[in-house]
């Protein structure tokens, strides 16, 4: 988008103004300032985190702070890794995130497909009720949701401390249904008829026709599913009280109390690394998916 500038994507400042010597000078200055400020503001803290993990216990709380660690101590990272059991916390997070993703993909895709293409009786009503949940702020429901997970209605099962307590509630996501249903609506009815005439069952049609056409929206839903679990804090804190089963956000916090500052910072750096790497590798796909797919903040 930034590469070609025809009159199509002309912006606030006209190309003519930019090509004047004064305009070019101002542009150069603004560009430099923006690059320097952004690098400081957004990379600076990450640099501080990475190097903070190498500092000794005295140096990390030294005043004035040091820009480079004087005597780098890679041992901090090792201590953090083993003492805070970051590997386990990361594994838990992935386990919750991808489990939630799998449940959302199976149940929400099936539901949206049924509402959009199979159109059962009461389908509209169910859709309306699902979308109505978007109007209810999530935290308001935390308390009754917690009570429900404590003792599931009818089944009388307690889900606290099990992964189900994180996986299943993520399926009740009106936004997924909205995105998927809207996308499925755009798949031509003729294709469905053609499949029906060829004798394909609804499941076969979903699998061989609808899903291959829906890759973009499935990508968006998947990113949201993983990111939501990755970012969630209050809910997993409530339903996973066992430190061995906690995701990284809660685990690091609850273990952080008795740990020296430099080890804690090393732990933060390790915990940040996986997603940062994934993001840098796939940033093009992730960012275009996020902006194209929806307007959820």
């Amino acid at each position: 988008m930034a590469a070609s500038f025809t009159s199509q994507n002309r912006t606030l400042i006209s190309p003519a103004a930019l090509s004047r010597p004064r305009g070019r000078l101002v542009y150069r200055i603004v560009l430099t300032v923006v690059i320097v400020v952004f690098t400081l503001v957004f990379l600076g803290p990450l640099y501080w985190m990475a190097t903070g993990g190498f500092k000794s216990a005295q140096e990390v709380v030294a005043n004035p702070p040091t820009f480079f660690p004087h005597h780098p101590k890679p041992g901090n990272y090792h201590t953090a890794w083993s003492q805070l059991q970051i590997a386990r916390l990361l594994f838990n997070t992935l386990y919750y995130a991808f489990g939630a993703l799998a449940f959302q993909l199976v149940f929400d895709v099936a539901a949206a497909y049924a509402i959009s293409k199979l159109r059962p009786v009461l389908g509209k009503l169910i859709l309306g009720a699902m979308l109505a949940t978007l109007m209810i702020p999530a935290t308001v429901l935390i308390v009754p949701q917690y009570m429900t997970v404590l003792d599931l209605p009818v089944l009388h099962v307690n889900l606290i401390g099990t992964p189900w307590a994180i996986w299943l509630p993520t399926v009740a996501n009106g936004f997924n249904i909205f995105l998927l249903k809207r996308f499925f609506d755009s798949i031509p009815e003729d294709l469905m008829h053609a499949a029906a005439i060829d004798g394909a069952s609804p499941l076969r049609t979903l699998w061989s026709i609808v899903l291959p056409m829906s890759r973009p929206i499935l990508g968006v839903v998947s990113i949201f599913a993983v990111v939501n679990v990755w970012k969630d804090f209050l809910w997993p804190m409530l339903v996973e009280p066992d430190p061995k089963k906690q995701p990284i956000n809660i685990g690091i916090r609850s273990l952080s109390q008795g740990v020296p500052e430099n080890v804690l910072i090393a732990a933060l750096a390790i915990s940040a690394l996986p997603t940062l790497l994934i993001f840098l590798l796939f940033q093009r796909n992730i960012m275009s998916g996020l902006t194209a797919g929806s307007l959820k903040g």
Binding site: P120, L141, A292
Partner: protein, 317 residues
């Protein structure tokens, strides 16, 4: 906002409802219909059960719990006692004041900054991809990493921020340790972590503005500010107002940042938000009825916000 687009979608679906490929199925029509319906509900059942258990039922339960009290294992109806008790909590208004304060700061900082950043980024012909990645980087951090990192920076004795202020010969601050600056410190940290997504959304909206509008404005001799005021903002109004509502609703539910940065209460209860108070009622005092009642207050306030918003956006169209 989703709700406004939905009816349009469903009617569309309705209009395209196919006349079922009749003909050969005429004889067994009803049986076939029943079979099709059963099949379709089979596809729906997983999601419906999850909605039922984790969304619809809790919604109803939220109302019921607000009027119930559980004592020694016996649940009884207590009328408005919970609401009354919550309302007369000495910190009720403190929590609302703090929440309003957080929302206000988040609007001034968290709403304006990403928009300005997006406008500037959109003008740059170089390094745009690099800068966009930079802005989005903090969004990818696990919240605990970003928040605890800021806590380290905010430390009044050895934190980075006071050191930078001191070397610039500016007055230093107590940040999270003072009741005056605690909330704004939380907002700054939250903005740093979350502004990436808003910036990307604004950038996408800015790139959809037709270039001819700016060219026409140039011909009329419009300056930079009047172009922003008369072209950029009106053209992005829809996205701006939608983000405004989303942000108000989200910031009114603030919990995580406050809890991680100040432990929830903060100095002299200066960062105690409504949701933190709900959390305390439920999980510190074990008083689920009052927690639900306070949640009900929050629900009503947010519903009022959404209602006013829906009203305003309808009037202006």
């Amino acid at each position: 906002m989703a709700a406004t687009t939905v009816p349009e979608n469903t009617t569309q679906g309705h209009a395209r409802r196919p006349t079922r490929p009749a003909g050969r199925t005429a004889g067994t029509g009803t049986r076939r219909k029943v079979k099709n319906n059963l099949q379709a509900h089979g596809f729906l059942i997983g999601a419906v059960l999850c909605f039922l258990m984790f969304s619809w039922y809790p919604m109803v339960r939220e109302f019921i719990m607000s009027f119930q009290q559980k004592k020694r294992g016996v649940t009884s109806w207590v009328g408005f006692k919970n609401l009354d008790r919550v309302y007369h909590d000495p910190y009720f208004w403190t929590a609302w004041k703090n929440t309003a304060q957080f929302t206000l700061y988040a609007l001034v900082i968290g709403f304006a900054v990403p928009f300005v950043v997006a406008i500037v980024l959109n003008e740059l012909r170089h390094a745009q991809a690099y800068l966009r990645v930079l802005v989005y980087l903090p969004v990818m951090l696990p919240p605990v990493a970003g928040v605890l990192l800021f806590k380290y920076f905010y430390n009044p004795d050895y934190g980075l921020f006071n050191h930078v202020l001191k070397s610039l010969h500016l007055p230093t601050s107590q940040w999270l340790d003072s009741s005056h600056t605690a909330m704004i410190s939380v907002v700054i940290a939250a903005t740093w972590m979350n502004m990436g997504s808003a910036t990307l959304i604004y950038l996408a909206a800015l790139q959809n503005i037709p270039g001819e509008l700016y060219e026409a404005a140039d011909l009329d001799g419009a300056g930079l500010w009047s172009k922003i005021w008369h072209v950029t903002i009106p053209q992005t109004r829809l996205v701006l107002s939608m983000m405004l509502l989303l942000q108000i609703v989200a910031t009114m539910q603030e919990f995580t940042n406050v809890y991680l940065l100040t432990g929830g209460n903060g100095p002299q209860n200066s960062t105690m938000t409504v949701v933190y108070m709900v959390y305390q009622y439920a999980f510190s005092y074990n008083n689920f009825g009052s927690a639900a009642a306070l949640g009900l207050f929050l629900l009503l306030v947010l519903a009022a916000f959404s209602g006013v918003y829906a009203r305003l956006s309808r009037n202006s169209d």
